[in-house]
């Protein structure tokens, strides 16, 4: 079994195509992993029968030579993606028993390319959180320093934990302010948030429509490239989807970065960042320099306003997006004698504290009398942040930053919401600007927890992001496996 789990996605795909292994044995190995690592709580729903039948189908195609790009690869799906006939809850009590009759575009793209579904992965409720602690069914445990019960990060905590624990060969995530990159950093894996518009949002439970973007969580940069190749694509059903063809990212893996300019924003190296992260950030800069890149100090002056702007825009949109969970047509309903009371009881009992907090913030900032001071101001800040990046990309090709100010923290150590929000300080600016970003592991801190470094590219430059990340990945040579991973 162990050798099967050792294969990353690209290697497993090779082995499948060369008929060294079958999808059925690979899928069964992962199903066993899921059960071996069940104490981590990464999965909300396991679809064993469906996994087996899809694997058998893939094996047929592998034999008859009609294999597709992800043929036979067992993956996990964040519970924000609607999956036909499979419970989709967004980790919320309000959708506890919700079974969609439709399949999200991104997951459909994956199945069309031959991937095999293992199950649905936990996340923060409606993707609101940075520790996976807001999930209705309880937190997920980071497979690193398993006995200390560390947070996998969030909101794609289940996805990151599953990939790190080797209970999924890859997973999908959604990233609104850092929900792919931060958990990837906490769990020592690769997480890529594409350019806004690259992946269709159709069928993904909406949190903040102008920011939400799907992306892969994988072991390696090339795995991420292979996954995103399948996930991305124009979709008429999403008006904000970009009508652009993405080149085959696998072609950019080994192009190197000689002569490329890497921007180092001065605003990302302030106080409050852990020393080990600073150390590895500096190392990363050196590695890229050694590979022939030119390092350019740059400034993104409005960075300090990114987090406040984000925590106005995202809750504002969320307060409206979550209005549909009203107990009338589907999902939880608490019977009452009047419509208003039904709303109050249904929403009051079925949303968790963090979701309620954001609905209240969002409702407040959109209220007449406050709209201009908060929402409109935040939109202006967002524009300025975008312009910051546009100016910098006139001078450099990519921007390098830490992914998070700290490594993972212990679960249950009650943090106040504001401290929690600071987790996203390095990931939020790229989200507001709609830019693609990737976090990859470059080392361990002194307590043995993974450190993530983030690369940000210009709009729709996923190819550039992949080639640069690949260089950094090689130089860092991160090959540690979490102690809580399946063996």
């Amino acid at each position: 079994m162990s050798e099967l789990l050792d294969l990353n996605l690209v290697e497993a795909s090779e082995a499948l195509k060369n008929k060294k292994i079958s999808s059925l044995e690979l899928t069964k190995a992962y199903l066993k992993s899921i059960s071996d690592t069940s104490s981590l709580g990464a999965y909300l729903e396991i679809v064993e029968d469906k996994a087996i039948s899809m694997a058998k189908e893939s094996d047929k195609k592998l034999i008859d030579g009609t294999a597709r790009p992800l043929e036979g690869i067992p993956i996990g799906i964040k519970d924000m993606f609607c999956t036909k006939d499979i419970k989709t809850t967004a980790s919320s009590k309000i959708l506890e028993n919700f079974i969609p009759t439709y399949e999200s575009t991104v997951t459909q793209n994956l199945w069309n390319d031959g991937a095999v579904i293992l199950g649905k992965l936990s996340c923060d409720e409606f993707a609101m959180g940075s520790s996976n602690e807001t999930a209705a069914k309880g937190n997920v445990i980071n497979p690193w320093l398993k006995n200390k019960k560390m947070s996998p990060g969030g909101s794609s905590g289940g996805s990151a934990a599953a990939v790190a624990a080797r209970s999924a060969l890859a997973a999908t995530g959604t990233d609104t302010g850092g929900s792919i990159r931060q958990p990837a950093a906490f769990c020592g894996i690769t997480g890529l948030k594409p350019t806004y518009g690259r992946c269709s949002r159709w069928g993904i439970v909406a949190f903040s429509s102008s920011l939400d973007q799907a992306g892969p969580l994988t072991r390696t940069v090339s795995d991420a490239a292979l996954m995103l190749n399948s996930m991305a694509g124009y979709d008429q059903k999403d008006s904000t989807s970009a009508n652009l063809k993405m080149p085959d990212l696998m072609d950019y893996l080994d192009k190197g970065i000689k002569g490329k300019k890497i921007g180092i924003p001065k605003e990302y190296t302030q106080d409050g960042i852990s020393e080990d992260i600073v150390k590895f950030y500096e190392k990363s800069i050196d590695w890229l320099k050694d590979e022939g890149a030119e390092i350019v100090p740059v400034s993104l002056p409005h960075t300090k306003y990114a987090l406040p702007a984000y925590y106005i825009i995202a809750p504002a949109e969320a307060s409206s997006n979550l209005a549909r969970y009203d107990g009338v047509r589907y999902g939880a309903r608490h019977e009452a004698s009047s419509l208003d009371e039904m709303y109050e009881l249904t929403r009051g009992n079925s949303f968790g504290d963090e979701v309620k907090r954001r609905i209240m913030i969002g409702t407040y900032v959109l209220s007449s009398g406050y709209y201009d001071a908060y929402y409109l101001k935040a939109q202006k800040v967002r524009r300025l942040i975008k312009e910051d990046f546009e100016n910098v990309y006139k001078k450099v090709d990519y921007i390098l930053t830490p992914s998070t100010p700290t490594t993972s923290f212990e679960l249950g150590k009650k943090q106040d919401p504001l401290t929690m929000y600071l987790n996203d300080i390095f990931t939020v600016p790229a989200s507001l600007a709609g830019l693609p970003g990737i976090s990859l592991p470059v080392g361990l801190d002194n307590s043995g927890l993974p450190i993530g470094i983030q690369l940000i590219a210009n709009s729709f430059d996923e190819p550039g992001l992949i080639r640069t990340a690949r260089v950094l990945e090689r130089s860092a040579g991160f090959n540690f496996i979490a102690d809580g991973a399946a063996k």
Binding site: P100, Q236, S320, L366
Partner: protein, 490 residues
């Protein structure tokens, strides 16, 4: 000084003098589109409850709106027909509120940047005068669903068929000064919408509804506080509701009270308005741009293409009818009121006597339909048949009197006038020898009267004509009878 006999429409005589009404209308017109504004579900009327509901309409998790281009085109077309400014960039906003028949928890509408800006239309009043009413804006929005509260003792039923159906909200400026003007304005808007095919204007089915903003003031003074009467679905109710609301406001003001800005409903059974919700209870809709939709943008050339394809509109059509068919401006304004009328008229009058056709259509046909309680589309007489009847009159085949008889038969049997005339042998007799035979008989039957006439009693001439006509069963051509009689009785 306050003589009620000279009180103009829209004026109310109170204890303190004459009050003037200030009225603004918001018309909600359902776009004649097969599918909804942001989903592919059918927008047809009268389906079984919850049949025309897509995943988007039901606001299932992760569903996204996609704009229906046809509806955008209809809004632009309407804007052009209202002589309004077309905004080549407009934005969809979310209007947030909770209600059981509003699945998304928000209505997608346009708030700060509507697709159509200011315009104006000319309105024809009953007294033959015209007035210009300003248009403030036109925007696109989704309709809500329907709540049924009377189907079950403790539950409400929800029908989402209408949810997401495309509406245009046409907002007038507060330029309207009487209930009659308001009625004429709605009629004109409805007529324009029907001409361009953007909305069927069917008020009974709810495709056209109006909210009326009403306030009163002393002439020349500042506008008073207004009340909004919601959801009026007939021109008659619009006129009644405005009149009664204005009177209510005058009563309050004259007693020293003040008007509360509020939303009111019109009770069709009492003919009065009653409070629905006050300003304090007004929703805070928390409008913000819908992040699921990009701004709506189109090019000037696209707008130009639509402009070139616009059909002829009532105002210019009216002028053309007067010029081409020689009819009166009054008749023309009646005919252009409905596109169906004018299409019918033009077919019937084509190559014929325009004036005669207009008379027959307006007096006889409209009258007969009204008497039989039929709508225009149910008319048993086609434009082709009316035209044929006009031809039969004009070429002397039948007299005007016989034509009326033929017309009644056409109403009953739907037969062509030609067939009726043939079957009943109603052709006018113009042949000299046939008529001479009749004259000879009348003379020999009335020799005494002939003598009286010849000895100078000229008045008797009419008697002889009458006798000849009677003998011919009305078919003799009266002109020929006259001429021949005169010759005979010299």
């Amino acid at each position: 000084m306050n003589d009620t006999s000279t009180l103009k429409p829209g004026h109310i005589l109170g204890e303190t003098g004459i009050w003037e009404m200030v009225i603004g209308l918001e018309i909600h017109a359902q776009i004649s589109s097969k599918s909804k504004l942001f989903s592919g579900a059918s927008a047809s009327f009268g389906s079984e409850a919850n049949r025309n509901v897509s995943l988007v309409d039901a606001a299932m998790p992760g569903m996204l709106p996609v704009i229906n281009e046809f509806c955008v085109e209809q809004a632009v077309k309407t804007g052009l027909a209202l002589n309004a400014k077309i905004n080549n960039v407009s934005v969809f906003d979310r209007k947030n509120y909770f209600y059981a028949d509003l699945p998304q928890g928000y209505q997608i509408s346009q708030f700060t940047k509507p697709i159509v800006g200011e315009g104006e239309i000319i309105v024809d009043l009953d007294n033959g005068e015209q007035t210009t009413i300003g248009i403030e804006r036109l925007h696109l929005e989704q309709d809500a669903g329907k709540s049924l509260h009377d189907q079950h003792p403790t539950k409400s039923y929800i029908d989402l068929n209408r949810t997401g159906v495309a509406l245009m909200e046409i907002v007038s400026k507060p330029d309207i000064r009487s209930p009659q003007e308001a009625g004429a304005y709605v009629k004109k808007i409805r007529s324009i919408l029907r001409y361009i095919g953007a909305c069927d204007g069917n008020m009974e089915e709810g495709s056209l509804r109006a909210d009326c903003n009403v306030s009163v003031r002393k002439s020349g003074k500042e506008f008073g506080t207004r009340c909004e009467i919601k959801n009026l679905n007939s021109i008659r109710f619009i006129i009644q509701a405005i009149q009664s609301e204005a009177e209510r406001q005058v009563d309050i003001l004259e007693e020293g009270g003040t008007i509360d800005q509020e939303t009111r409903l019109f009770d069709t059974s009492t003919g009065e308005t009653r409070s629905m919700r006050s300003k304090e209870d007004a929703h805070d809709y928390r409008y913000f741009p819908d992040p699921d939709l990009l701004p709506l943008e189109f090019t000037e050339s696209w707008v130009q293409d639509i402009k070139e394809k616009l059909p002829e509109l009532p105002d210019s059509l009216k002028k053309r009818l007067v010029k081409d068919f020689g009819i009166t401006s009054y008749d023309a304004s009646i005919l252009v009121e409905e596109k169906d009328y004018v299409d019918f008229y033009q077919q019937a009058a084509n190559g014929r006597d325009g004036k005669l056709t207009a008379n027959w259509m307006i007096t006889e046909l409209f009258g007969a339909l009204k008497k039989d309680n039929l709508s225009f589309s149910e008319s048993p007489i086609t434009s082709e048949n009316l035209g044929e009847l006009i031809s039969l009159i004009s070429n002397g085949t039948i007299s005007g009197k016989i034509a009326k008889e033929v017309f009644s038969e056409m109403m009953k049997s739907k037969k062509s006038p030609y067939v009726i005339v043939k079957e009943k042998g109603l052709e006018q007799v113009s042949d000299d020898s046939e008529i001479l035979e009749l004259i000879d008989q009348v003379i020999s039957d009335n020799q005494e009267k002939v003598n009286e006439y010849l000895s100078g009693k000229d008045k008797l001439f009419g008697f002889f004509v009458g006798q000849v006509m009677k003998l011919s069963q009305g078919k003799a051509n009266p002109g020929v009878v006259n001429k021949l009689l005169k010759e005979k009785l010299k």
